[in-house]
């Protein structure tokens, strides 16, 4: 057997269908790909192609009907890997302060201690939320809320971070800023991340590699590695780079060739 030491996540020939009284809807068929340590992957595809289903599978919320998901070489069930999942909406609880929202995961995993509380304060400080610690979510702007949701995820020190269109609920301006912001945070922390999005420019500005899915039932249509010759490789700089346009038209063409 070949050994890939830096291969953190592997999906091998995954199948998944939805069932209801009217019949079976295959969502994913024969889908395989792998993700390396500290890599930022963006998954794009036609709307409703099963992108979110894919993240639910990786996070273990649902189990594939066929196929194998391996993390660090071990199957999902056995591996003690910690997978963070950022949902489309921040889902901050209005009945908790920002600080207590951030502690939610720790409470659930029974890892609340003086040390982790201290870390929560530190992270909130690092990400510019210190003055909002005791605020209710409704008092924060959309971007701030998404940051708080990120802190809630990062404090659990996930090995892999799943992002399910986490910026789609924000207005365009905020979206660019928060995308840039969160992209840099993840790069700095060297997090392995999988971003699902329908926004091509968001995918190109953030990812190291883009996986294009076919329409439902989804399988991998093509993988496009992104290489930018930039001194300061930030999402915003990428948007102004020459390569951006080329990648955009390439991926756009690939997405539509399938239809």
């Amino acid at each position: 057997m070949e050994k890939h030491t830096d291969r953190i996540l592997e999906l091998k020939s995954i199948y998944y269908s939805y069932h209801n009284a009217d019949g079976e809807t295959p969502a994913i068929t024969d889908l395989s790909f792998s993700v390396n340590e500290s890599e930022f992957i963006a998954i794009v595809g036609p709307s409703g192609c099963g992108k979110s289903t894919l993240l639910s599978l990786i996070s273990g919320l649902i189990t594939p009907e066929k196929g194998l998901i391996k993390i660090n070489g071990r199957s999902l069930r056995e591996s003690a890997a910690n997978i963070g999942y950022m949902l489309q909406h921040d889902q901050l609880f209005e009945w908790r302060t920002i600080y207590h929202n951030v502690l939610l995961g720790l409470e659930i995993q029974h890892t609340l201690s003086a040390r982790t509380r201290e870390k929560a304060h530190e992270l909130l400080d690092t990400y510019g939320l210190k003055q909002f610690e005791n605020s209710r979510p409704s008092e924060l702007s959309g971007g701030m809320r998404q940051r708080a949701a990120l802190v809630r995820t990062l404090i659990l020190e996930p090995d892999i971070l799943l992002l399910d269109e986490p910026f789609s609920a924000l207005d365009y301006q905020t979206r660019l800023r928060v995308g840039d912001d969160i992209g840099q945070i993840l790069k700095k922390e060297k997090k392995t991340a999988i971003l699902v999005t329908h926004d091509l420019s968001e995918a190109i500005s953030l990812a190291d590699r883009i996986i294009i899915l076919t329409s439902r039932p989804a399988t991998v249509h093509q993988t496009v590695p992104l290489i930018f010759n930039l001194e300061d490789d930030t999402p915003l700089n990428r948007r102004n780079a020459q390569e951006f346009k080329n990648y955009f038209s390439l991926i756009w063409k690939e997405l539509n060739s399938d239809a």
Binding site: Q91, W95, G105, I108
Partner: protein, 267 residues
């Protein structure tokens, strides 16, 4: 302090006037009603033996206050109402949690809950007397029977209408169904719990009075039925007035609880 614009001042003034008109009208209706009642009874337009009148009701209350018997009746009704109210809230929360936890159970029990909820509960009171005897337990159970089924149903509805994405969040944080209940469903349903409290305090009072009509030797419901039988209309109408006051007081208590909760929420 910055200066308010003329338009804003005018707006505030209109608002104030609006509130004052409502408040004054309310008071006028009460006193107008009492005055007309008293006046027509005194001038013989209505028969004060049958309709009583405010002054007689006050005199009657004073009379019963002297030997303290009225407080005994009020206390009994209040006690029975509060006990049945607390039991209803407790049991509804437990049942709603049970139904939410076991989806099967809720589906199986659904038609039974609907039937029991639409059944006129006063029909159960005679049955309860036979089964439980003419005692305080019967009255408390009668009070509960009026409120409990509706309250379980509405609480369960509020439980299942909690945003599924919020529950998904709990699972993405590797939480269990228990965490979903304690961290999301219950806190998100607190406003609904306060709402059913508001409805139930009145319903429990209704049930308790029905129970007292049939199976009591004390309490305001007993006083009403007894005075109607011996034709003491002063006593009867006084008891009804006291019930009005009691209902108002209990509702005000729950309102205060809600205000306190909202204040905690928003500091």
């Amino acid at each position: 302090m910055h200066e308010l614009s003329a338009a804003q001042q005018k707006y505030l003034h209109m608002q104030k006037r609006h509130r004052r008109v409502v408040c004054v009208s309310r008071i006028l209706i009460l006193f107008g009603f009492l005055f007309v009642w008293e006046f027509t009874a005194n001038t013989g337009i209505i028969d004060s033996f049958i309709f009583s009148c405010p002054s007689q009701i006050v005199l009657c209350f004073r009379e019963l206050m002297v030997d303290g018997i009225i407080f005994h009746h009020i206390g009994i009704t209040l006690y029975e109402t509060i006990v049945s109210f607390l039991l209803v809230i407790l049991i509804s929360i437990l049942m709603a949690v049970l139904l939410w936890t076991f989806r099967y159970l809720s589906e199986i029990l659904d038609p039974y809950m609907v039937v029991l909820n639409s059944l006129p509960k006063s029909a159960l009171a005679p049955l309860l007397i036979v089964w439980l005897g003419a005692n305080r337990t019967t009255i408390i159970v009668a009070g509960m029977s009026v409120a409990i089924f509706g309250s379980i149903l509405s609480l369960y509805t509020s439980f299942i209408s909690v945003d599924p994405e919020k529950i998904k969040l709990i699972y993405t944080l590797h939480g269990t169904k228990f965490h979903a209940l304690t961290k999301v469903v219950l806190p998100a349903s607190l406003p609904a719990i306060i709402n059913i409290m508001k409805v139930n305090i009145g319903l429990c009072l209704v049930g308790v009075i029905i129970g007292e009509f049939l199976a009591a030797r004390s309490g305001l419901g007993y006083l009403i039925i007894y005075s109607s039988q011996v034709f003491k209309m002063d006593h009867l109408l006084m008891s009804i007035c006291l019930l009005c006051l009691m209902a108002m007081l209990l509702y005000a208590l729950i309102n205060a609880l809600e205000k306190w909760y909202l204040a905690c929420q928003h500091r």
